[in-house]
Structure formats: C-alpha cells, structure tokens
C-alpha cells in the first residue's frame, strides 16, 4: 500500500500483516509515516495505491462504505480529541448510539461498565476539560473500545502526556493486550514496545525497514538504519 500527498510520497510501499490478537508496535522517527499508516488503515486517509484488508475483506474496495468499516476499527489519537461539549459518558455513548444504533440505556450501561473497569467510574458526568491528560486519554481509549472494535489503532497515545501520567495509559493498553485485543500501535515508548508487542516494525522513509519480534529487533537489528535509530534512542536514555 502506498500513500502520497500531492508529489510527496509519505508511504512508499507498506506490506504488513496483523494476525488476530497480535500487538504490533510501529517505531520510527517523527515523519516516518507511522501516523499516516494508521490513518490509512481506518480510511481517514484514502490510500494512493494498494489495498487494506480486514478479516478477509478488502476495505479499500470502492463498493465499501468507509463509515461501516470505521465502526470495526477503533483509533486513539495523540491529542485525545474528546468532544469538549459532551460529558465523558456522552463521549463514550455517541458512537454506539448513533452509528451502531444501540439502545440508549444499554449503551450507557456498557459505557459505565468500561469506565469502572478502567477506574474512571466517578468521572462519567464530568466534561473533558475537568480531567487530567491521562484521564482524558483513558476516556478516549474507552470511547474507541465502546464500539467493540476488531482492531485498535493507537497513534502515539502517550506523546502529549506528562511523564507521570504515561503509566496509567500504558496500563490500559497492557490490559487490552492481555485480553486479546488486536492492536497496531505507533509509539515512542521503546521499553513498552519491547514489553507488550508481539512484533515490532521499524519505519523509515515511508517503508517498513525491519519487522521482527521485539527481542530480536531490539537486540540484533539487522538493518543499518534500525541500528542507527536505536542507538540514538539509547543515547537519549529512552531504552
């Protein structure tokens, strides 16, 4: 799959398979195309060439309604993007009620159960600006989860957080991984990637340079670009 913005080729040929319950971490420098890749997977960006498949169906086919596809793919953004004019509860129930036509009472019950599961039961009635960054990002995760997605895309979900708030969000991801959620995660948290990923893919210049289980990629990177990237990360004390 490739993606260009005008003349600028952001993704030059991505070939990636994610098996059910697998957690793939995408690492790479800023601008390497991680975010664009995620946005292409849930069709927020149309792909330039190639195709994306979800569970045996080509979702980039012209006959497919992107709105229907997106119901099965959750995405969480770096900047949370909660709806500021709605309470936490409304944020979470909007998708199920409007897109999935779940009855109101049932959607609220499900949302409250998810909030309780992730320790936010008491914030259901609050507006997002009353919450800390970590809490907002957890709500954003819950909002995506409430759609019962088959795949979760996480786009540097901890990058905008204060360091002391990162752990609570990573804990949520860990719990989802243990529960068997299929996830594609763009991240700068190398330690976390090593810990939770089934496989790690290193992106540079719009390509997957190297893809391997974390132990292999972090201990014995084969490509020179991967080695250089990991060395810079290590020098910065982040690995």
């Amino acid at each position: 799959m490739t993606k260009s913005f005008g003349d600028h080729e952001v993704l030059r040929g991505i070939d990636l398979v994610v098996a059910p319950s697998e957690v793939i971490c995408l690492i790479g420098a800023s601008g390497s195309g991680k975010s664009t890749l995620l946005r292409c997977v849930n069709l927020l960006e149309p792909v330039t060439s190639g195709s994306v498949w979800l569970g045996g169906q080509e979702i980039t086919a012209p006959a497919i309604d992107p709105d229907l596809v997106r119901r099965h793919i959750g995405i969480v953004f770096q900047s949370y993007n909660l709806f500021p004019h709605m309470t936490v509860l409304k944020n979470i129930t909007l998708g199920p009620v409007k897109a999935l036509r779940v009855p109101h009472a049932q959607a609220e019950g499900d949302a409250l159960a998810l909030l309780a599961r992730f320790g936010l039961a008491d914030r259901a009635g609050d507006y997002p600006d009353r919450l800390s960054g970590g809490q907002q990002q957890r709500v954003a995760m819950i909002r995506a989860l409430a759609m019962s997605p088959r795949l979760m895309l996480l786009d540097e979900v901890t990058s905008a957080l204060d360091p002391e708030l990162v752990a609570e969000v990573l804990d949520v991801i860990r719990e989802l991984a243990q529960a068997g959620m299929t996830m594609l995660i763009a991240t700068h948290e190398m330690t976390f990637a090593r810990d939770v990923a089934s496989r790690v893919a290193f992106l540079a210049d719009g390509e997957i340079v190297e893809e391997a289980p974390p132990s292999e990629l972090f201990e014995n990177p084969r490509d020179e670009r991967t080695r250089r990237f990991l060395r810079r990360i290590t020098d910065a004390g982040r690995l």
């Binding site: 927020l44 709105d67 119901r71 993007n81 909660l82 909007l94 998708g95 409007k98 999935l100």
Partner: protein
C-alpha cells in the same frame, strides 16, 4: 501577599485590566471622570445658541407623552403600542434567520460533488443579499411581491413583507457567522467523530455544529441587536411600527419629540441584549483563562 506564578487566571485578569489593589481608588476616579465629562457635555448643550429651540422641538415632555400613548381621534398612533410590532417582527425574523442561515452555512461548507448546484445557489444568495442594502431588499419585497398580483403571496400585510426582507438580508450575514464558527472547530474533532463510524451529516450534527454555535453566540447576538433596530426600516412599507408612528405624530404636531420617544424605546430593547452579549463574552473569557491553568 503570595501569588503562585502559575495562577494564570489572576494574571490574565490583571493583564486585561481590573482587579487587584487600588480598586476603590479606581472606582472613585472613574466616577469623577464620568461626572466631569457629562457635565461638560450638558453645559455645551445648554449653552448652545439654539439650545432652547432644540429642547422644545426634540425634548418637549408633553409631546413625548402624547406620542408615547397616542390619540387616534387626533390622527396619530401610540409609539409605545407600535413598538410591539417591532418586537413581533424581530422575534419572527430572528427565528427564521437562525434556521435559514444554519442551513445555508451547512450547504456552503459541504464538500460532496452532488451538492454543487446547492452550493452555487447558496453562494449567489449570500453574495446578493449581503451586498444589497437592507432597505432596498425591503423595498423590493414589499412593493415587488404585491405587484405580482398572486393569491396569498401578493395580499400579505406590509409587516410580513418587511420580515421577509429582513430575513433575506440578515440570513446572508448570519450564514457567514455560522460558517466562521464551523471553520473554528478543529479538524481533529471531525477525525474523531468519523473514526467512530459517524457519517458526515452525523458528525456535523452532533460534533461540529454544537461547538460552532457556542463559539458564535456573541457575534450572533451582535447581529440580532442590529436586526432589532432595522425593524424600523419596515416603516417604508407603511407598517405602523414605532418609527412610522413617530413620523406620523411628527408631521401632525410638527415636533421631533416623537422620534426621541421611538429612540428611547429602541434603546430599552437593545441595551439588555447588548449587556447579555457582554456577559456571555466575559464568561467565555473566564472559561478560557481557567482552562489555561490546567
């Protein structure tokens, strides 16, 4: 006195004036300066060579009273009763304008190729009615539609044509206000809404518009203050609203005091809305300053 350097709300309020010590001295100063300015203006008015004549023709208390309550037997209407028509025209126009302008704004912001003809129509509509002076639109509707000699369409009250003219003109302005509001909502909000499987219209309805409308309420109210005054333009069609009633009194009794009565009545209508707008703006600013501390 200790103040946290991170306490932005207090720093913010001081940055924009007001608050802190010296508040009592500030109040005394502003009172004194207000009195001086008013006294100077009053003196200028009273000492002007034509002051007595102006006071007699513009501010004659008996004339003002008679114009306010009216006397059909002597051939003039009550300005006080006529302003009621202005209020009704304003309320009717306002309700229609909000709906029509919102519709126009959504059409103008749409992107689908199917809606292109509608977009062209909306663009033309806004260009024409924003560009033509409101009074000419009122004339065109008020004299044009009756001249068509159609059933229903040509037999309405002048006030109805007046409202229609105001709606045409103001919905073009208010459409642009709404559009600015829609554009002020970050694209990330659209991404978030669409990623939940919401369709484009659903994202507009539940995520974009609620935020857009909240943002534009102060400028919107500003346009409505303007609309309240512009109901006086309908007088050119012969509807007996406040301005027209004042005119009739003026030409019957040969005084301008009736216009002052109409002006005062318009002020009584517009000032509360103006203060309410200020209140909303101040509340919005407080919120944003409070948000900055988190």
């Amino acid at each position: 006195m200790t103040e946290s350097p991170l306490d932005l709300s207090r720093r913010g309020s001081r940055l924009f004036g007001g608050g802190g010590q010296g508040q009592a001295r500030g109040a005394a100063l502003s009172t004194a300066s207000t009195i001086v300015v008013l006294a100077v203006l009053a003196a200028l008015f009273l000492l002007a060579p034509g002051s007595a004549a102006v006071r007699h023709t513009f501010f004659s208390p008996p004339d003002m009273w008679h114009a306010l309550i009216g006397d059909p037997a002597k051939g003039y209407y009550s300005v006080g009763a006529a302003i009621w028509l202005n209020i009704r025209m304003f309320l009717a126009a306002e309700a229609i304008i909000v709906v029509l302008a919102l519709l126009l704004a959504v059409i103008r912001q749409s992107t689908g190729p199917v809606l292109l003809p509608l977009r062209v129509v909306a663009l033309g509509y806004v260009d024409v009615f924003r560009g033509v002076p409101t009074i000419l639109v009122v004339y065109a509707v008020g004299f044009g539609l009756p001249a068509l000699n159609l059933t229903v369409v040509s037999t309405q009250d002048p006030a109805v044509y007046g409202v229609l003219g105001l709606v045409l003109s103001y919905s073009a302005y208010v459409c642009e206000v709404f559009r600015a509001g829609i554009n002020s909502v970050p694209l990330a909000q659209v991404s978030a809404a669409r990623s939940l499987g919401l369709t484009q219209p659903q994202a507009m309805r539940y995520v974009i518009l609620p935020q857009a409308v909240r943002t534009v309420i102060p400028p919107l109210l500003n346009d409505f203050i303007s609309l309240q005054k512009d109901t006086a333009l309908v007088s050119v069609l012969g509807a007996i609203e406040a301005n027209r009633a004042a005119e009739i009194y003026s030409s019957t009794v040969f005084t301008y005091s009736s216009f002052v009565v109409a002006a005062l009545l318009f002020l009584i209508l517009t000032i509360p809305l103006a203060r309410f707008t200020d209140h909303l703006i101040a509340r919005d600013r407080r919120r944003r300053l409070a948000g900055a501390t988190i």
